[in-house]
């Protein structure tokens, strides 16, 4: 149970970064932390303590195996996260070229 709460804490740290930070780069880092927390949570869901790798060998009884599906899904999710982060960083670089700052309170050409 403790592990799940640590996961939640990590998620909250990321959310704090996205919501409260004023620097574009720090916001992107916050988003990355959210993604790590999610991936960690999904892997935890399929984890068994003292479980073994899910390889179906001939003379082994099938008991207490780790669920392999979340691991496969998390790999996909990591790749998606990589794509989003790469796009965000390249946009942030272009924003810096245009505005000369990473501070979101100074990047305000659009009005509500």
């Amino acid at each position: 149970m403790g592990l799940y709460f640590l996961c939640l804490a990590l998620f909250c740290v990321g959310l704090y970064g996205v919501l409260r930070k004023r620097n574009l780069v720090k916001i992107i880092i916050g988003l990355a932390i959210i993604e790590y927390a999610m991936n960690l949570f999904f892997v935890l869901l399929g984890y068994r303590f003292h479980g073994r790798a899910p390889i179906d060998a001939q003379d082994q009884a099938i008991l207490n195996m780790v669920d392999p599906l979340p691991q496969a899904l998390v790999l996909t999710s990591i790749v998606i996260g990589l794509g989003v982060t790469a796009l965000l960083i390249s946009i942030a670089i272009r924003i810096y070229e245009k505005y000369g700052t990473f501070d979101i309170t100074k990047i305000r050409k659009l009005r509500g």
Partner: protein, 502 residues
């Protein structure tokens, strides 16, 4: 060929087009234009053909097993009434937008990159609509989202980059919530197949998990659909994109990613409750009224249209949230109509931007003398969105209001009427400032836009005028099948599983 074998083509065709355009578009002249036209025509034909196929299918559902693996162990793709309806909506708008972009994108550099991203977005939307697997839905959602983040920033001006950054951050947080919801559902049901998950959830009631997951999904998909408390990104992101992409974003993306995914998950997998429907109706009515009031004070043409998108999404949610067959019919019909007239209005704004070079309503004036096609089609679209009788918007709004009264929600019906009147007021302003009145001095030698752009706008306008025929008996099954899928609710599991073993 088995009829179910056309289903994966909805993902393969745009994906192949995106791949080939990015590979060859730079070296072969006109290749990107030819490839995008071909793939969008093919997709439109396939989506219409899928409706015909569905009519002859015995259980009104077709299942394709990816790689031959039997669901729930393998991934499956499901074609049912709602899917066919959404596919036609998406591919119809995508076809006209693609034709329009052939001429419009001459304003920008690097057409091949644009068409690559455009194809990827269509691929993501088609995949999300067609899939029968919850994690697959998340993957396609992200494909469509990432392509749209990049397309919003396509002009790489300061405002566009800022809007794209804002959109990307909020969209990614929304995706995180959706992913978390899927993780919880997987942990509880140990399956990812939608039909199987619905069956497990039916037999294994849980008091605390489902409300929690519902809130996660409502936040995630509500943000993608721009419901009012989560709408802040839309008025920035949609106007900043190139006009043809604004038409795609407002016309179909928020509906495929937001409305369709939300409705599919809640009606067919989790199962709707009275509380959930009440929340949906309240948020719908709130978006409807709040966004239209915000729209009244806008002077930027595209920004005004973006606020109206939020308001019209409110109508769709109000209709679907009623939960009665008539209400759902009204909501889905309005979804279809809105995708037509809102994409037409954005294409009009793009045409004005192309010819005159401004988006500010105060700088326009008297344009109906020099741009008759744009002025005429935008008049049709404005009357449709305001709900004036012969046009399609009138019928769907009328059905939603009648459904409200039938169920006894007079207040919501009144909200819908008031929002409709305010919409009319706002579009009167657009017509007066942009198209009627004195032609301004510098505008006398403006030319009408190229024929590709005129063709798309005229076709969409004709469909707006003739939209009411969708309610006639010979075309009604198209809408009725989609409504039935939602009315059946969690019996979806049974229907799909029976088709799998067939």
């Amino acid at each position: 060929m088995k009829p179910a074998n056309i289903i994966p083509l909805f993902v393969i065709v745009p994906l192949a087009a995106a791949f080939l355009i990015s590979l060859l578009g730079k070296y072969v002249r006109r290749f990107s234009s030819a490839a995008i036209s071909l793939s969008s025509v093919l997709l439109l034909a396939l989506s219409l053909y899928s409706c015909v196929l569905l009519k002859s299918a015995p259980a009104k559902v077709l299942v394709y097993k990816v790689g031959g693996w039997i669901p729930p162990f393998g991934i499956c793709m499901v074609l049912d009434g709602l899917t066919a309806f959404m596919l036609v909506t998406v591919n119809l708008v995508a076809f006209f937008v693609a034709i329009y972009s052939l001429a419009y994108m001459n304003k920008y550099t690097d057409k091949p990159k644009f068409f690559t991203l455009f194809s990827l977005m269509v691929c993501g939307m088609n995949g999300l609509i067609i899939t029968g697997d919850l994690f697959n839905l998340f993957v396609f959602l992200e494909i469509a989202s990432i392509a749209s983040y990049a397309l919003v920033a396509f002009g790489t001006e300061a405002e566009e980059l800022e809007a794209s950054f804002k959109y990307a951050i909020m969209g990614s947080v929304a995706s995180a919530f959706i992913f978390l919801g899927i993780a919880f559902l997987y942990g509880f049901t140990s399956t990812l197949n939608m039909a199987d998950m619905a069956a497990v959830l039916n037999n294994k009631p849980n008091l605390w998990l489902l409300p929690f997951v519902s809130v996660l999904f409502l936040m995630g998909f509500g943000l993608k659909a721009a419901l009012v408390p989560f709408h802040a990104w839309l008025p920035d992101a949609h106007p900043s994109a190139p006009a043809s992409i604004s038409a795609m974003l407002s016309g179909v993306l928020i509906k495929a990613l937001g409305v369709y995914a939300l409705v599919r998950i809640f009606f067919n997998i989790i199962g709707v409750t009275h509380t959930f429907l009440t929340i949906l109706m309240f948020l719908g009515a709130l978006s409807m009224v709040a966004a239209v009031i915000l729209a009244l004070s806008q002077w930027d043409f595209k920004r005004l249209l973006a606020y109206h998108s939020i308001s019209q999404i409110g109508y769709i949610f109000l209709g679907i949230g009623l939960g009665t067959p008539l209400g759902i019919l009204g909501g889905l019909f309005h979804l279809f109509n809105h995708s037509l007239f809102k994409s037409l209005l954005f294409l009009n704004s793009g045409a004005i931007d192309y010819a005159v070079g401004t988006r500010d309503l105060r700088e326009m004036g008297g344009l109906n003398k020099v741009m008759p096609v744009t002025a005429g089609t935008s008049l049709v679209a404005s009357l449709s969105i305001a709900g004036i009788p012969p046009f399609n918007g009138f019928f769907s709004k009328l059905i939603i209001i009648i459904a409200c009264i039938q169920k006894g929600y007079l207040g919501y019906g009144l909200c819908a009427v008031i929002a409709s009147i305010l919409t009319l007021a706002s579009f009167m302003k657009v017509q007066k400032y942009a198209f009627f009145g004195q032609l301004k001095g510098g505008f006398t030698n403006i030319k009408e836009v190229p024929w590709q752009m005129k063709f798309s706008m005229l076709c969409l306008a004709i469909m707006c005028i003739a939209g009411g025929v969708m309610l006639l008996p010979f075309l009604k099954p198209f809408l009725k099948d989609a409504v039935n899928v939602l009315v059946e609710g969690t019996r979806y599991a049974e229907i799909v599983m029976r088709e799998v073993v067939r």
